[in-house]
C-alpha cells in the first residue's frame, strides 16, 4: 500500500454552457514521469469509479510518478448538464456509441495544457473503456497507451433484440448448465413460479442456435459488417493498433463480456496469428466480476494496472 499524500486539486473546464469537473492528482517532483493518465467515466459511478476503484488507482499511480486526471463528462457526477429522461440501458448504449468522446477529447487536450505531461494513457472500465478506445483513435500522436477493463464489445441494440443469435457458445453453455443444475432446486422453482426468473434470458438460452457461425476477419469489422458487434469500437481499435499504441484488455472470469470478447474479437481479428497480435495484451482475472466490484478482484486489477504501467 502506498503512503497517501494529498496532492489533489479540482480541475474545471468550461465547455459550451457546461462546466466539466475533475480531480487532478499531481505526483511528487522527485518521481515525475511526465506522463498523464486520464480516467474515463463509465457513466453511473462518476469520477470515483465502482466502489472508489478509480480513486484508489489514481492515488497509487500518482505515487508512482504519473499525473492522473479523473473527470465527469456532461450530465454525470459533479459536472454540469443533464440528459433527457433516460433509461440506464439507453445511456449505456449512447456511451458505447461515443456520447462522452467529445468531452473526453476536450479534457484530454486540457490535461496536456495544465500539466507538464507529453502524452497520455487512457483508462476506462466498462463503457469508459469504449470511450478510451474511441478517444485514442482521435489522438494518436499524444496517446501512449490504452487500458480497458470489462468493456462490452457488443452492439447493445442487437444484443437486446437478438441475444439468441449472437450469444457466444461458451456463455450459452454456461447459462444452460446453470439452469440444468436448478431443475431440482425448490428455491429456483419458487422464483420461476413467482415470475422472478429472467424469462427473456431463459428463452434465449433455450432457443440458442448451436450451428457454426461465420468467421469474420478485420476487413469485415472495418466494413462494419459484423452483426451484434460494436463495429465502431472494432474500427477504432484497428486504427490505434495500426499506430502501435499498446492496448490492454482485462476481463474477469465472471463477466459475460469476456465470452463476447473471446468469441468476437480474440478468435477473429485479434487472433494470435493475425496482424494485430503484437498490438494488445489480454489479462484474465480469476473470479473477477464485470465491474471488479469485489475487494479481491479490485486488488487484482489494481496489480495489473500497476504492473502494466511500469513500461511507461
Amino acid at each position: 500500500m502506498d503512503m497517501i499524500r494529498i496532492n489533489e486539486e479540482a480541475v474545471f473546464l468550461q465547455l459550451g454552457p457546461n462546466i466539466l469537473q475533475g480531480i487532478y492528482h499531481v505526483p511528487e517532483k522527485k518521481c515525475d514521469k511526465k506522463i498523464g493518465i486520464l480516467f474515463c467515466n463509465a457513466g453511473l459511478t462518476y469520477n470515483i469509479g465502482v466502489a472508489r476503484l478509480y480513486v484508489r488507482m489514481a492515488r497509487s499511480l500518482s505515487a508512482r510518478g504519473f499525473h492522473v486526471l479523473r473527470f465527469d463528462p456532461k450530465g454525470t457526477g459533479d459536472s454540469d448538464g443533464s440528459f433527457e429522461k433516460t433509461l440506464i440501458n439507453d445511456l449505456f448504449n449512447n456511451i458505447e456509441n461515443g456520447l462522452f468522446v467529445n468531452d473526453t477529447l476536450a479534457m484530454f487536450d486540457h490535461f496536456l495544457k495544465i500539466s507538464p505531461i507529453k502524452s497520455i494513457i487512457i483508462v476506462g472500465f466498462c463503457g469508459g473503456g469504449v470511450t478510451a478506445i474511441l478517444t485514442a483513435s482521435h489522438r494518436f500522436d499524444k496517446t501512449s497507451g490504452v487500458f480497458t477493463a470489462g468493456i462490452p464489445i457488443w452492439d447493445r441494440e442487437t444484443y437486446d433484440q437478438h441475444l439468441d443469435k449472437i450469444m457466444p457458445k461458451d456463455l450459452a453453455k454456461k447459462y444452460r448448465d446453470t439452469y440444468l443444475k436448478k431443475i431440482l432446486d425448490v428455491e429456483a422453482w419458487k422464483r420461476f413460479l413467482t415470475a422472478k426468473t429472467d424469462f427473456k434470458l431463459l428463452f434465449k438460452v433455450l432457443t440458442f442456435r448451436t450451428g457454426s457461425k461465420k468467421q469474420y476477419d478485420s476487413k469485415d469489422f472495418l466494413r462494419g459488417e459484423v452483426p451484434g458487434v460494436n463495429n465502431k469500437l472494432a474500427v477504432s481499435f484497428c486504427r490505434i493498433a495500426d499506430k502501435r499504441i499498446p492496448v490492454l484488455f482485462v476481463y474477469g472470469t465472471n463477466d459475460k463480456a469476456q465470452s463476447f470478447f473471446e468469441e468476437y474479437f480474440l478468435s477473429t481479428f485479434l487472433n494470435p496469428k493475425g496482424p494485430y497480435k503484437d498490438s494488445y495484451q489480454y489479462e484474465i482475472i480469476e473470479n473477477g466480476d464485470h465491474n471488479f466490484c469485489l475487494p479481491d478482484a479490485q486488488d487484482k486489477v489494481m496489480k495489473v494496472i500497476l504492473d502494466w504501467t511500469q513500461r511507461f
Partner: protein, 273 residues
C-alpha cells in the same frame, strides 16, 4: 449559472473533499449529508442537482464527502459512524467560516439524515433540519444492506454459502463483509446497530422537515415517521412530515435518476429560516 469551488478541508491526515455552491448574502447556508456506501454513489447526481437548485435560490450549499468516501482521503473501511457525525460538524464549521453565515440548514438522506439528526442534537447553529427518508433503526437497516451480499453470492456461486447470521458473526470476528463493493466493518456495524433515532432525539427544538419517499401516489406515511415527528414536537421543535412521490433512487433502477423534484418541492418550506 451557479458559481462553485471545489476543495479539500480539514486536518492533514483527514482531508475531506467538498464543493461549495455560492449563494447570496441574505440567505442561509446549507450542508448536505449523503447516505452510506453505494447509496451515496447512486444518489450523487441528485445531490449535485439539489445543491445547484438551492444555490440558484440564493442559499450557499456545501456538498462534502465523509472520510473514506467519494473523493475524500482515507479508505472506506476507515469510515466510522462517530466519524460521519464529526465530519458533518466539521463541514458545518467550514460552511460557516466560508460564508460568514451562522444560520444553517442541514439536510441528509437515509443514514446521512440520521447522522444529521444526531448532529442537530448538539449543534446550536442548526436552524432547519431536513430528514429525507431517515433510517430510524440501525440494525434492521444493516441487516437489509447485508442482503446485497447474499445477492452477490447467488450471482457468483448460484447458491448462498454464508447467510445473514453467519455474515454478522463474521463481522463480529473482525472480518470485512462486502456490500456492493464497500466493506462493512465491525466498528461501523456495532455503532450503527445501536442507533435508534426516536430514542436519541431530545434536544433539538427548531425547524424540522421529515420527508418520506415512496414510489406510489397512494402510499401512506409510515408509523415510524409519525412517531419521529411526534417526538420532535414533544421536544419543542416545529416539525412537518411529508410524503414525496419518488422512486427509491438510492437503489438500482432502470432509469438514470438525476433530480428528485417532488422531494425538493416538499422541502421548500425548510429553506425559509
Amino acid at each position: 449559472m451557479t458559481a462553485r469551488k471545489s476543495f479539500f478541508f480539514g486536518e492533514n491526515d483527514h482531508k475531506l473533499f467538498a464543493i461549495h455552491f455560492q449563494g447570496t448574502p441574505q440567505k442561509p447556508v446549507a450542508v448536505l449529508c449523503q447516505p452510506y456506501g453505494d447509496e451515496a454513489v447512486k444518489t450523487r447526481r441528485v445531490f449535485l442537482n439539489i445543491a445547484k437548485e438551492w444555490a440558484s435560490k440564493g442559499i450557499d450549499v456545501l456538498l462534502f464527502d465523509y472520510f473514506g468516501t467519494g473523493n475524500s482521503l482515507g479508505e472506506f473501511e476507515e469510515l466510522r459512524w462517530s466519524g460521519m457525525i464529526e465530519d458533518i460538524r466539521n463541514a458545518i464549521e467550514k460552511a460557516c467560516s466560508l460564508t460568514k453565515k451562522h444560520n444553517v440548514i442541514v439536510a441528509g438522506l437515509r443514514l446521512g439524515a440520521t447522522a444529521a439528526a444526531i448532529v442537530a442534537e448538539i449543534d446550536k447553529r442548526i436552524e432547519s433540519l431536513v430528514l429525507w427518508h431517515p433510517i430510524i433503526e440501525g440494525l434492521p437497516y444493516l441487516q437489509k444492506a447485508l442482503r446485497s451480499n447474499i445477492a452477490t453470492q447467488m450471482a457468483i456461486h448460484q447458491k448462498v454459502n454464508t447467510n445473514i447470521t453467519q455474515l454478522i458473526n463474521n463481522i463480529q470476528k473482525g472480518m470485512l463483509v462486502d456490500i456492493n463493493g464497500f466493506e462493512l466493518t465491525k466498528n461501523f456495524f456495532n455503532e450503527v446497530s445501536k442507533v435508534n433515532l426516536v430514542n436519541m432525539t431530545s434536544h433539538y427544538k427548531k425547524k424540522c422537515t421529515i420527508v418520506e419517499i415512496a414510489p406510489h401516489p397512494n402510499a401512506k406515511i409510515s408509523l415510524e415517521y409519525k412517531d419521529l415527528k411526534n417526538i420532535y414536537i414533544k421536544n419543542g421543535a416545529h416539525c412537518d412530515l411529508y410524503l414525496a412521490i419518488e422512486k427509491n433512487f438510492w437503489t438500482d433502477l432502470k432509469i438514470y435518476y438525476q433530480k428528485a423534484s417532488d422531494m425538493l418541492n416538499k422541502t421548500e418550506s425548510a429553506l425559509w429560516i
